[in-house]
């Protein structure tokens, strides 16, 4: 029921349906833009309906509620956005702070749809980010043709994985020894399929990476890789931040360039893992701290024994998930998903 003359979701969907649909004569790229625009129109109205009716009632909604909106986005050829909407259902309940977290994610999606509507006004690289976040994917050839190419000795810091119930994603984090560039190589697998082989965590290789075009480039593909491994495990200290506030400043800069960035690699040197009052965190020499995801804290504490270590971890803006650590000059892979391929 509309209140104060506002449009309900149902009214709006009907109105959206009146916008001219692409025909067989519409050029294919143009056709997709029209489809996506329709999908985003529907998504915006749906989001506004959620806020109008209040988030409190969402705990009663089945997963099918979220799936239905995600399916509309799939139909609209916006698969990345669809996946994000599907995940919203898992954010409801289960955590005392879920309303604030959900609202933040809804806000992030609203920012993305707003950015899409104003895409021509955005810097070219940010336009590329927005298109990828909505679901336009680049082929490897397109990345190789347009991406930033970087030659370095790349250390394979560690791996992590996630599963949205449909597709499993493996994230392999690389760190350039000379350029100190962070690179993220993704591998995807459905069902029980194995991931395509990735460089083994804890090793290093000389090679050339090409980054996906982005205002804050992070995702990359490996263009060339020298066959001979340099060392296993990597024998030297990794480049990284000696101060937690310096790492934080660099992450803030990345977010300022690309506000939808959800994680990055934190390479922190000489930090001490501490367990106090049931919480685990790492502390640098200046007393600054960052929390460690509780499920991953004990292996790190076991490795450090209360002494400083060098840590490679995935930072999601809230907690660190340790991937690897160097203790007493020895490199240890901590990520549970590390594989031994190649």
């Amino acid at each position: 029921m509309a209140s104060k003359g506002r449009l309900t979701y149902r009214d709006a969907v009907e109105r959206t349906a009146q916008v001219p649909r692409p025909t067989s004569q519409t050029p294919r790229p143009q056709k997709r833009i029209v489809r996506v625009t329709h999908g985003i129109d529907g998504l915006d109205l749906w989001l506004r309906d959620l806020i109008r009716q209040g988030l409190a009632g969402l705990e009663q909604k089945p997963q099918a509620f979220w799936e239905a909106q995600a399916a509309q986005l799939v139909d609209a050829q916006a698969p990345a956005l669809a996946s994000r909407v599907r995940q919203l259902g898992h954010r409801v309940g289960g955590h005392p702070d879920w309303p604030a977290r959900l609202l933040r994610e809804l806000g992030s999606i609203a920012m993305l749809t707003r950015a899409f509507r104003r895409i021509d006004a955005l810097p070219a690289l940010l336009q590329s980010d927005v298109r990828q976040l909505i679901g336009w994917s680049l082929t490897q050839d397109e990345v190789l043709a347009s991406g930033d190419s970087v030659q370095d000795t790349w250390t394979v810091v560690g791996q992590s994985a996630s599963d949205d119930g449909r597709v499993r994603v493996q994230r392999t984090w690389l760190l350039g020894v000379h350029t100190e560039r962070v690179a993220l190589v993704l591998a995807f697998a459905a069902g029980d399929d194995a991931f395509s082989p990735m460089p083994t965590a804890g090793t290093a290789f000389d090679g050339e990476l090409v980054y996906w075009p982005s205002a804050s480039p992070q995702r990359a593909l490996i263009r060339t890789r020298a066959h001979a491994r340099i060392a296993r495990p990597w024998p030297e200290r990794l480049p990284g931040c000696d101060r937690i506030d310096a790492f934080h400043a660099s992450f803030t800069e990345m977010l300022a360039r690309q506000p939808w960035m959800d994680r990055t690699l934190a390479s922190l040197r000489d930090v001490t893992p501490v367990h106090r009052d049931g919480a685990c965190f790492v502390r640098d020499a200046h007393g600054d701290t960052l929390p460690i995801a509780s499920a991953h804290a004990w292996p790190l504490l076991a490795l450090s024994g209360g002494a400083p270590i060098d840590l490679g971890a995935e930072w999601d803006g809230e907690t660190l998930t340790p991937l690897a650590a160097t203790s007493a000059g020895e490199y240890h892979v901590l990520s549970a998903t590390a594989n031994g391929a190649t």
């Binding site: 209140s3 104060k4 506002r6 915006d44 989001l47 506004r48 309906d49 806020i51 109008r52 009716q53 209040g54 988030l55 409190a56 309303p99 604030a100 609202l103 933040r104 994610e105 809804l106 806000g107 992030s108 999606i109 609203a110 920012m111 707003r114 934080h248 992450f251 803030t252 977010l255 300022a256 506000p259 001490t272 501490v274 367990h275 106090r276 919480a279 965190f281 502390r283 007393g287 600054d288 701290t289 960052l290 929390p291 004990w298 292996p299 504490l301 076991a302 490795l303 024994g305 209360g306 002494a307 803006g317 809230e318 203790s327 240890h332 901590l334």
Partner: protein, 411 residues
């Protein structure tokens, strides 16, 4: 505490058209801008902006000036090799966990410790046997971790204080002195064929009342009582009992008593009694159960002496696979050698005994004497192919892992 913007979003703009209390400045600024947009969209964008700002700021914990707990002390033992560590990690995660106790014992015997990175897994073991085996190989780092995690307090809690013999006997089910005196009086009465004092019906079918109560009463009395009461050794008393119509009841009662009071001399004599007994007098199932229990309590050398003849054609009342299972691990070398011989023999012959051997392979894999691992792998390894029994392939795989551990875990 929920922030004002989230509180508003929870209620919904349909029920509340204004924010109840001033939001944080960033949200307020975002709400004030973009006035051409619908209220709900402005709220969403304000939440998005605040979310980015919050992620950028992180959730800084208060500055920490230091840690109250001192760092871990230096290790006094070297860590095991990376190869052994990988095996141990697999076992701690449940793969071939049946080998974990042996591996930990080997590690301790070699004066080695677990690598630090495995300590959280190792500290998570639950059974008392595993905890006893883990404790000496945790090293200083393990003790340090146990001090800061209450869930691992078992490491530093120490063992329970020693209990006296009376406590232990009570725990084993032995009666107290008064009850024992009453039981002896009753048993002697029954043995002299006096009318039983108790007239409760026995709960077991096919067992006479006197036989049942005789067996029950005898099971509480230390067998040494009868040795001194009749001034005769167990061999004489057991042989004499065999000639009576109470043979089964006497045998069962004395066996239970010898098990309870851990009387190895009586147990050895009773092993022979049950092996000799006539199937018309004693059911094979009862004989098998008694023999298995006796084996479990006999000293290792004596148990091995009892089991060795079972590999031949001698008449027996005990199931071979159960007898092997009842032996402690590792098996004595003599048993290990006989087992491998029998395995070879039965593999060739595929006789009915093969099934008994086959069912014992799983236990044999972990129980075979470490000294016999290499010879067994050399002779049986080539026979373990995909065309053969799966149990044999698995048996050889476990032997290979054990052999690797024995070779790798050295001071």
């Amino acid at each position: 505490m929920t922030d004002p913007l989230t509180q508003w979003a929870l209620v919904g703009t349909e029920r509340q058209d204004h924010i109840a209390s001033p939001p944080e400045p960033l949200a307020q600024s975002a709400l004030a801008k973009l006035t051409d947009l619908p209220l709900e969209q402005r709220m969403l964008l304000a939440a998005g902006v605040c979310g980015v700002a919050s992620t950028a700021a992180g959730r800084p914990l208060p500055k920490s000036d230091g840690d109250s707990s001192p760092p871990s002390a230096n290790e006094t033992r070297p860590a095991c090799s990376a190869k052994v560590a990988r095996r141990l990690e697999d076992m701690l995660r449940g793969h071939h966990k049946e080998l974990l106790l042996e591996a930990l014992t080997l590690l301790d015997g070699a004066g080695l410790r677990l690598p630090h990175v495995l300590l959280p897994l190792a500290l998570g073991v639950r059974t008392p046997a595993h905890r006893r085996a883990v404790r000496p190989v945790l090293g200083e780092r393990g003790a340090w971790l146990a001090r800061i995690n209450p869930a691992w307090a078992w490491v530093t809690a120490g063992d329970a204080p020693p209990r006296d013999a009376k406590d232990r006997a009570r725990e084993n089910g032995a009666p107290g002195p008064d009850a024992l005196a009453r039981a002896i009086a009753l048993a002697e009465g029954v043995l002299h064929f006096e009318p039983p004092v108790l007239t409760v019906h026995p709960p077991l079918r096919g067992v006479g009342a006197r036989s049942f109560w005789l067996s029950q009463l005898l099971s509480d009395i230390p067998p040494s009582h009868w040795t001194s009461r009749f001034s005769a050794g167990p061999e004489v008393l057991v042989r004499a009992a065999e000639k009576t119509e109470w043979a089964a009841a006497l045998g069962e009662g004395w066996t239970k008593a010898a098990l309870l009071h851990q009387d190895a001399t009586w147990l050895a004599e009773l092993w022979d009694f049950w092996q000799r007994c006539d199937e018309k007098v004693v059911s094979p199932a009862v004989a098998n159960a008694m023999l298995v229990q006796i084996l479990q309590r006999l000293p290792a050398a004596e148990a091995a002496r009892c089991v060795e003849p079972l590999f031949g054609d001698a008449k027996t009342h005990i199931d071979l696979s159960m007898a092997l299972c009842a032996l402690g691990t590792p098996w004595p070398e003599s048993i290990s050698v006989r087992y491998i011989e029998a395995l070879h023999r039965e593999l060739r012959a595929m006789s009915p005994r093969w099934r008994a051997i086959l069912t014992s392979l799983r236990d044999a894999a972990t129980a075979l004497s470490p000294a016999e691992l290499a010879p067994a792998l050399a002779s049986l390894g080539p026979l373990a192919t995909d065309a053969g029994p799966r149990a044999l392939v698995e048996f050889i795989e476990v032997l290979r892992i054990r052999h690797e551990l024995v070779q790798e875990i050295r001071p």
